[in-house]
Symmetry: C2
Subunit: 370 residues, 2 copies
């Protein structure tokens, strides 16, 4: 279980296969986010139709609602949300630091108040692993602390705590049917990132994640950190860039040797009426689409593009119909999966390096972040 | 076109086939409502999967947004919303009287202010037909006035106006590929209803609707009116009971010779967390379902019931996830279609009269209206 084999390499980009209890995961792979055990507005059947092979769910949210014990008693997250393919849960760390009403961190863990009802809770590395074992995803994450990239002192402290916590997570983990990934931190400082990559690699986890990027630093900083970190990681284990990204970020990340990505962007953009397209991002609420009989993206093979006009999607948006978010989510998730699938094929046939500049140029107009 | 053949009769209940430009409609039939060119939260593919054969759309809403000319220019409503099977549009009359901010009715028509932006508009019988010809549904409705069932004087006036307007609609209609149905009014007074049924029948439209019921009168009054009206209608044309209804209303209506029904109830209930079931209506937000691993209705064959637990649906509701409305809409619409399909089969095999009391008993607990 959890063997990772590399099928092809093109420059630093890799096409791999990661074995999980819920099937082989072809990498590079983009995972849409099912925060609360649902990729917003989509059924599992719709997700499979658009080629989704990995879904991420958020430990912080599921711990608070409906509760990890409840999910365990409902036979785990796969059964609860009826997702038959690989699942990944994060550790809850990122949300505790970004969403909780208040938080106080110490060497042992974090005490925080729920953003839902203000109740007090405490996460430690051991608690995070226990919760993730209740949820039962195929890939689970070490409990980490994400620092402000512009705060050097904090980046050092957060990295050291992340390392100590990662060791405790490895020690706490019990289930053999879950792969625990350590997380590299270190802000935007090459020396810290190198130190962190070496330490996390030494824990010998079946995969390694890069955290604390795409959190406010520049693109150049993100690329520089990836260059340092990936060079220090073992080649024989999958690399996961957390919370990324835009189409451009996916291309750039794969080119730097990243294998796994997740991001809320495609579904969040969908709820804000926005669609990826090879001609740049479109805001479908725009009046220019009111009588546009064409699909969102003529090159796209999703149900939305093969069935509906821009005029109809725009009508649903202006009429405040929920179906708009469903149709745009189908398209946006499919757009990223199709992009990554195309890149994987180009790695296999050794054309990725040649084609990457054109892909970057084509998708650059979609890069604006929400 | 628009031939109606009766395949079987059981008491007053009929199993028929109505020919439309978009295929044969098997009656009795329940039509979910796609007010704004979408049955809320469902894709056309999902609607077809649950056996939907007829969808109703609202002329008032589509006239205001996106506009009837726009729908016409987008090749009509079938193409616009990508619904390949029969469509029905109402005349706009009911919404003008129930939704518009202000309205002033005269012998020629109704002037009203939009509930969206307060702008002033005018519907006449000729305008309603012109709009419905732009939309292009298979079945279109005469412009009528629905009276308060408790106001005798108004019921007389509204009925007379409805008759005069129905004649004008018949005269105004141009498209041969649309069936115009006249509408019987007359409040809750048998004499008025009889008079209206006879007048509307005399117009020789390919189908006849019964309006002004399920608008506040008692069940007994509704049944009495149906008894009077249906007895006065020609047997060889489909009868459409507008805006009805609950599972119980469908059984009662079919038993009285009604062939076509529409209602927002299944999708509206879905957005209020409520599900039809043979054990009575369930509010899935209820804490008693938090750990319920069973389906909403073990007897149901819909995607929701075949896939998800009550516990999961309840989680989606408490977490305010839009997918809850989709899954409950799939179930609720399927429940009514399955009920009506079962009734049709029982008419064909001549067991309807025998089975109707048990169906009524079984579904009575779902009758509460929103």
């Amino acid at each position: 279980m959890f063997e990772f084999s590399i099928e092809a390499i093109s420059g630093r980009a890799r096409a791999g296969v990661f074995n999980t209890p819920h099937g082989k995961l072809l990498t590079p792979v983009f995972a849409p986010v099912g925060t609360q055990a649902t990729v917003k507005t989509l059924t599992p059947r719709q997700l499979q139709e658009i080629g989704t092979s990995l879904v991420l769910a958020n430990t912080y949210h599921l711990y608070l609602r409906p509760g990890a014990e409840l999910v365990r008693d409902m036979q785990g997250l796969h059964e609860f949300m009826q997702w038959p393919l690989p699942l990944l849960t994060d550790s809850g760390g990122f949300q505790v630091f970004s969403l909780a009403k208040t938080r106080s961190v110490d060497a042992d863990g974090v005490t925080f108040k729920s953003h839902i009802d203000g109740s007090t809770h405490r996460f430690t590395p051991e608690a995070s692993i226990a919760i993730q074992e209740h949820l039962g995803a195929d890939i689970i994450m070490a409990f980490d602390e994400c620092s402000d990239p512009n705060d050097h002192a904090y980046s050092v402290v957060a990295m050291q705590r992340t390392h100590a916590w990662a060791e405790r997570c490895v020690h706490a983990k019990r289930r053999p049917d879950q792969a625990l990934f350590g997380i590299v931190q270190g802000g935007v400082e090459p020396a810290l990132r190198l130190q962190s990559a070496q330490f996390i690699a030494s824990l010998d986890t079946p995969g390694i994640a890069v955290g604390g990027l795409s959190v406010g630093e520049s693109k150049a900083e993100m690329h520089a950190m990836l260059d340092v970190v990936v060079a220090a990681l073992p080649v024989d284990r999958p690399r996961y860039l957390m919370g990324v990204g835009t189409p451009e970020d996916l291309i750039d990340g794969i080119a730097r040797g990243v294998d796994i990505f997740d991001c809320v962007l495609p579904t969040r953009l969908a709820r804000h009426h926005s669609a990826f397209s090879a001609h740049g991002r479109l805001n479908l609420m725009n009046a220019q689409f009111a009588r546009d009989e064409g699909p969102i993206d003529a090159a796209c093979d999703c149900y939305t593009c093969e069935t509906f006009s821009r005029a109809y999607v725009r009508h649903l948006i202006t009429a405040k119909e929920l179906l708009a978010a469903t149709l745009l989510s189908i398209h946006n998730v499919r757009a990223l999966i199709r992009l990554v699938d195309g890149i994987r094929a180009s790695i296999v046939d050794a054309t990725f390096e040649e084609r990457a500049p054109a892909w970057l140029e084509q998708w650059r107009g979609n890069a604006v972040r929400l």
